[in-house]
């Protein structure tokens, strides 16, 4: 006997495509039962995989490789959103020129209030997911399904106080494995699989405690712009080691504030960031050019090759010559 799925004909909108949810430059590129693929027109690539889980609940995977700034649709929606980023970080800009960053392995739960006006990716790449619970589109069936597992969205909102502020915390181990399974299943599994994982995720979300909340640190847009401008200047000429103070001359920011914001955006202190950037450039040159190690060291501001070799080993764990040999063998 063939049993019909109870989700068949349940809701005609259960197709994972909500044009009003995405940036105005988003375009639907493919649509399969339960999953839509949306592409963002940008200077690079931006792809969303939108899986319909239950009526009113969508799981959206995001993959961005671009430096664009996207507008968040400003229509007030009655939603609750859980966001997590596997790689990269996101810069959210709110009304009033306040900016904050969500980092890899942090996750947040946010309500319809305090929705960001814009967002971008400081590393020019980002992959993550967003679980969107659209309360207006949720049907009684969805609510009753959630209730079977003691999941009540209103209680979750109340417990985490999402009406007033974002709930941000380090991803707890119980949720880490669910996120890991979700990322591994992207494009391979069906909505059926995601349904179970989403229930697990929501179940664990109901166990979150207010005390584990991490306070979000907001910075002024003008400070963020200074930091980005100075970073660009720092990377312009890698062959010279210019003191940070020189870059900050004439900028309306103190060295301490600059260093704090720099670390917030890029995850490292300016010195460590520059060192990693130099070593990544070195790795590219070692792989793709025939320049001598001495020449590469000089082009990156190292006065001698042994100092450069030490720095390279600190970052990549091998000496530049061994790295080049290994890469050539591949």
């Amino acid at each position: 006997m063939t049993q019909r799925s109870i989700y068949q004909n349940l809701d005609p909108t259960l197709n994972g495509y909500h044009p009003d949810w995405y940036d105005k430059n988003a375009k639907l590129i493919s649509r399969k039962p339960g999953c839509s693929v949306i592409s963002y027109q940008c200077n690079g690539t931006g792809i969303l995989y939108d899986y319909s889980i239950f009526p009113g609940i969508d799981l959206i995977f995001m993959d961005f490789n671009c430096s664009d700034i996207f507008d968040e649709p400003n229509e007030m929606r009655n939603v609750l959103e859980i966001r997590h980023y596997q790689e990269g970080r996101v810069e959210f800009e709110f009304e009033g020129d306040k900016v904050f960053h969500l980092q890899q392995d942090e996750f947040c739960v946010n309500g319809m209030l305090n929705m960001p006006a814009r967002y971008s990716f400081p590393f020019d790449y980002c992959s993550g997911l967003s679980l969107v619970l659209d309360k207006n589109s949720m049907t009684e069936v969805t609510r009753s399904q959630l209730a079977l597992f003691q999941i009540d969205i209103s209680v979750l909102e109340e417990d985490l106080d999402t009406a007033h502020q974002w709930y941000i915390c380090k991803t707890p181990p119980s949720m880490c494995h669910v996120f890991e399974e979700l990322y591994a299943a992207k494009e391979h599994e069906t909505s059926q699989y995601f349904r179970i994982k989403v229930l697990e995720l929501l179940y664990h979300a109901t166990k979150l405690r207010k005390e584990d909340r991490v306070a979000a640190t907001y910075y002024a847009r003008e400070h963020i712009e200074i930091v980005k401008r100075v970073r660009k200047a720092m990377l312009k000429d890698l062959s010279r080691s210019t003191p940070l103070e020189q870059f900050l001359r004439g900028e309306a920011i103190s060295t301490v504030t600059f260093q704090t914001i720099f670390k917030q955006i890029y995850g490292r202190s300016p010195y460590a960031y520059l060192k990693h950037y130099r070593m990544n450039s070195a790795a590219v040159q070692l792989r793709e050019s025939n320049e001598s190690i001495n020449q590469i060291a000089l082009s990156l501001g190292y006065s001698n090759a042994s100092k450069f070799a030490r720095a390279f080993r600190d970052v990549f764990g091998v000496l530049p010559k061994d790295y080049r040999t290994a890469q050539k063998a591949i």
């Binding site: 006997m1 049993q3 799925s5 109870i6 989700y7 068949q8 399904q145 079977l148 597992f149 494995h177 890991e180 399974e181 591994a184 059926q192 699989y193 349904r195 179970i196 229930l199 697990e200 179940y203 664990h204």
Partner: protein
């Protein structure tokens, strides 16, 4: 072992157990029981709502899933009641086990025997 590998191993163990107990792989109940046993082995937080979870996964009503499972367990019992004997007491039960008891026994056997 990755999550995926762990879940594949769990599914293999569950499948061996179900076949050993006479649950027909061609039946719908086999799919339901396989899913439920795999989820339980993988530590689902919904141990007490495993039938609800199974029903949601397959897009069915819980009652339909349970009825289907009950029928298949009853069939397996009719075919070979000895398989359901209590190994400690040695008695063959008079009637097939309830669906939840069958799952619990399955989990116990899977964890005890390395397939």
């Amino acid at each position: 072992m990755t999550m995926k590998q762990r879940s594949e191993v769990a599914a293999d163990r569950a499948a061996s157990y179900l076949r050993e107990m006479g649950i027909r792989p061609s039946s719908k109940a086999y799919q339901y029981l396989l899913f439920a046993l795999t989820q339980l082995q993988c530590g689902t937080p919904f141990q007490n709502s495993i039938w609800e979870l199974t029903a949601i996964h397959f897009g069915q009503k819980r009652e339909n899933v349970l009825a289907c499972v009950r029928r298949e367990i009853a069939h397996a019992f009719r075919m070979a009641p000895d398989r359901f004997s209590n190994e400690r007491v040695g008695d063959v039960p008079a009637r097939p086990p309830q669906s939840m008891a069958f799952l619990r026994l399955g989990l116990y056997m899977i964890n005890r025997v390395v397939y």
